[in-house]
């Protein structure tokens, strides 16, 4: 077959050469198509040649400059390379169990020949908090991240704790338009210096891929692709779109919007909602698309701008570029995937949140900016949204288990390709990559691990898929492939930010505060809507929002604070003593196993921004969905029947992460805060005095 192709190719080449040889040079011009091909390939080669020549000729000088500047970066290093594989939420107890079952041979090898420890996590054990501590080596009082959300003391409303995105500084008002004169302003709220900045300064190259809370990307001497907390094109943390012909007008609680599909003859029309109009008009931007169902083949043809593709029912499209046209030559570029859910009797299409297009990023998502472009050109479009796996869509039953898993593993496979490219490019230095699949899949499929989880009571035990065991097995295979690519001079660390526990019962702490006289509602109200809509602040002493924090309504801090600073210690102690050990009367189990005073937990310049208390929920419990959103209900406890059935926002002592290594680590009780100083020490760098972690002793 190959020989026949070669033969055909040679024949065709001969015809071409013959024809071109006959004619004069002017006649041999073969049109713009071939002209472009020849010109652009010549141009590419020319640019590549210039670049390479420059790189080649200047390399000795740059190397000399680097040696002089950094006094030989690796001179005191104990290792040539550090590879850190982060698996968000990998649980040490599950890992141990599956290793003992014999399904994780590579982790078993690390446990046998290297190290396996539980890795102490942060207070609270939430990903943005723990990964911020991982990268900076400091407690949250020094990096300022305590949860996904923080609260505005003036409005009692939440805001994203990691980054603030605002419009451009200057605008020009032209009639009904407000023209932006500049780029959006993005301010990172995480403080502290990631350890790769110190490495980069010392001349040690770093490739950092999708470590959470690295948006906006900060400049350093290496490459970085931002992870968790990168927004979608709407500026949210992920808003899916569910287009349907069903007349249901109900809104999703969060994470998605329902969009009608209009029938027009044999075709159906709908749209993807985009960002708000940057020209100041009171409307959102939209991209319209057409669906042409073919019920005989159980498929539909979808047309979006110039893109046309066909999907079978239950199938995802590849990433499709979408352009939200603003007018005046402006547009916002995004990518999304379509999933055909149903074509008969109704038509339903799920569209992922519109991710920032990595090839044309409207917001910076990497350092340098070209790194995201490079990855996109090399591997094709990929998910850039921080929380790329759409857990909300599964929670809201827009996606089923299989569709959600397909989405997770598609993203995961992209990430694997990036990791192996980074490994190839970083033969010396640091290569760190975080995989989120472990977290998302355990959140959504924990229900099948337990005999009596409220979210899986209707699924017979013999029909429960072994999703989590399969997940660990896949991660083990990945670790095995990485192990095959490294030598003895490379340190491999497999870490997770926290472990996992069941989330079977919800605790509405706001309801408890209300029933115990700490939170008051407005007259004639027995409940409050989202974000304390019906709370009477003039009589409220404490409230909770987010996953683990409890706040006092402190006078002089909160706008309508009533607790005097001098009483705060007593109020906190009172709350601590009452909440700690709180029992769920329906089950007889302890719902709260620890309440931690933040004054004793955090130190640092941002400790004042912390909640006043951190609640440590017991195994099986977590803050209720309502409580997280600042809602006050009449019930304190209720079953969690959502697919989101496992969690880690509990007592930090219950959910340590994992630490595996290919080398022996002396430390018996390592903590995630120790990773940064350990890496600095292994590369022979001084550990800054403000760092809280302690370096481990490794047998290298």
């Amino acid at each position: 077959m190959k020989a026949r192709r070669t033969n055909q190719f040679l024949k065709a080449a001969a015809v071409l050469i013959f024809v071109t040889a006959l004619v004069s040079p002017a006649h041999a011009y073969a049109g713009p198509g071939a002209g472009f091909a020849v010109l652009s390939s010549f141009w590419t080669l020319f640019i590549a040649f210039l670049y390479s020549l420059y790189a080649f000729l200047t390399w000795p000088f740059r190397h000399l400059f680097r040696v002089l500047r950094h006094r030989n970066a690796y001179g005191k290093a104990q290792i040539k390379r550090a590879v850190i594989l982060g698996f968000d939420g990998m649980d040490p107890e599950l890992a141990d169990r599956f290793i003992n079952h014999g399904t994780l041979p590579n982790l078993a090898k690390l446990r046998r020949d290297g190290t396996f420890r539980k890795l102490r996590t942060t207070y609270p054990p939430i990903s943005p908090v723990a990964w911020s501590t991982f990268m900076t080596g400091v407690n949250p009082g020094k990096h300022n991240i305590y949860d996904f959300l923080a609260r505005d003391v003036n409005t009692y409303l939440p805001f994203l704790s990691s980054a603030e995105i605002r419009g451009p500084k200057r605008t020009l008002k032209l009639g009904k338009y407000t023209l932006p004169l500049g780029k959006p302003r993005i301010k990172g709220m995480r403080h502290g210096t990631p350890f790769w900045h110190w490495l980069g300064k010392a001349g040690i190259f770093c490739s950092v891929i999708r470590v959470p809370v690295t948006f906006p990307p900060e400049k350093f001497e290496g490459v970085l692709l931002s992870g968790m907390c990168v927004p979608d094109l709407k500026g949210s943390q992920g808003t899916f779109c569910f287009c349907t012909t069903r007349g249901d007008q109900s809104k999703f609680r969060e994470g998605g919007v329902r969009v009608p599909i209009e029938r027009n003859g044999t075709a159906y029309h709908s749209y993807i909602p985009g960002p708000d109009d940057p020209l100041g008009r009171p409307s959102e931007l939209r991209v319209h698309f057409e669906i042409r169902p073919d019920s005989t083949k159980q498929q539909a043809h979808i047309i979006v701008d110039s893109e046309k593709f066909t999907l079978n029912v239950g199938e995802y499209s590849p990433w499709i570029p979408v352009k939200f046209k603003v007018g005046l030559g402006l547009s916002a570029h995004g990518i999304c995937r379509f999933y055909l859910k149903e074509i008969s009797p109704e038509v339903e299409v799920y569209v992922t949140p519109v991710n920032i297009d990595p090839a044309k990023p409207d917001l910076p998502i990497s350092h340098p900016v070209t790194y995201s472009v490079y990855l996109s050109k090399l591997f094709g479009p990929y998910a850039t949204l921080g929380l790329a796996e759409d857990t909300w869509a599964l929670n809201e039953q827009v996606l089923d288990d299989d569709a959600f898993l397909a989405q997770c593993y598609a993203n995961h496979n992209d990430r694997e390709r990036m990791l192996f490219d980074a490994l190839e490019k970083t033969q010396q230095g640091l290569c760190a990559c975080v995989f989120d699949t472990t977290d998302r899949v355990q959140h959504m499929f924990w229900r099948y691990l337990e005999d009596d989880h409220p979210a899986a009571r209707n699924v017979p035990k013999d029909q429960r898929p072994r999703v989590i065991e399969d997940l660990y097995s896949r991660m083990d295979a990945l670790i095995g492939r990485v192990m095959n690519q490294i030598d003895d001079h490379t340190l491999l660390l497999v870490v997770s930010d926290h472990g996992f526990k069941s989330f079977a019962r919800c605790v509405n702490v706001n309801a408890w505060l209300h029933q115990n006289g700490y939170l008051a509602l407005k007259a004639n109200k027995t409940e409050s809507g989202d974000w304390f809509e019906d709370v009477d602040w003039s009589r409220t002493r404490a409230y909770t929002m987010g996953l683990n924090g409890v706040y006092l309504n402190l006078k002089g801090r909160e706008r309508e604070g009533i607790v005097f600073p001098e009483e705060s210690r007593a109020v906190k102690e009172e709350l601590r003593s009452k909440l700690d050990g709180l029992t769920d009367s329906a089950t007889g189990r302890t719902a709260i196993t620890g309440v931690f005073d933040c004054d004793a937990t955090y130190t640092g310049p941002y400790a004042d921004n912390a909640p006043d208390l951190i609640i440590g929920y017991g195994n099986g419990y977590r803050a209720s969905w309502d409580s997280v959103l600042g809602k006050v209900t009449t019930q304190i406890f209720e079953d969690n029947v959502k697919a989101w059935s496992g969690d880690h926002c509990v007592d930090p002592r219950l959910v340590p992460g994992v630490l595996f290594s290919n080398h022996k680590i002396g430390e018996e009780k390592p903590a995630i805060v120790d990773v940064a100083p350990t890496i600095l020490k292994l590369f022979g760098l001084a550990i800054p005095s403000y760092i809280d972690g302690k370096p481990w002793t490794l047998a290298i």
Binding site: F9, A12, A13, V15, L16, V19, T20, L22, V23, S24, A26, H27, A28, Y29, A30, G31, P32, G33, A34, G35, F36, A37, V38, L39, S40, S41, T44, L45, I47, A48, F49, Y51, S52, A55, F56, W59, R62, H63, R66, F205, V223, S306, P368, T370, Y371, V373, Y374, L375, S376, K377, L378, G380, K425, Q427
Partner: protein, 246 residues
Amino acid sequence: MVVLLSVIIGLLMVVIFRYTSDQTAIRLAKDHLKAHLLAVRLFQDQLPVVLNSYARIIAGTGKYLRLAFKPLLFIILPLTLVIVELDRYLGATPLQTGQAFLVTAHAADADSLNNLSLQLPPQMSTTAPPVHIPADNEVVWRVVAATDGNYDIGIAAAGQTFSKRTVVSSRLARLSPVRLRGQFWKRIFISAEPALSDPGPVTSIALNYPSRNIYFAWMEWNWIWLFFVLSLAAGFLFKTILGIEI
């Protein structure tokens, strides 16, 4: 006219390229090339990575050219024929009345030169005696036309007469600068007249039509160069508008 033709042909060619090429493969090949170029910049302090990327750029360029080769096959034949035909109209200007021009007859051998004679229509006349160039087997006449028209100039030899079409005009016209004996491919690409009878004493009859220059963008252009530039520009514009990967 050249501008219009360039735009139309530019459009046609990119459309043909679109439907005869593997657009997905071309896009991928280009993307990979860009990625390797970016790698040279991103990892510039790591010489092995730079050299590796350079090797991949060369391999990627080869792949890209191979992908462009198939549509090139579809394009080159019709486009070459179109350009040849256009060159007959646009490559030279017709002769002008009162303007002397040369008629060159090429004989099969030097012995035949003395037997060649020029037969002109009444509207034409010679302005000088013929010049014999035995070394090249050629006889050259200087001729002038009195009025516009399409004429047949005859070259008589050994009882036969060989004609050559001659255009005297101030308008655009299809021109054939030479009439040839045999030489099939050369006739296809250069001559626009039937072959001279073979065997025969005359192997070619040529006229020196003045070459045409086109004034465009403050410059004088040969039409083919102007066509090259404009069709590329048009192609670039249309490929962007139509979303065609080239």
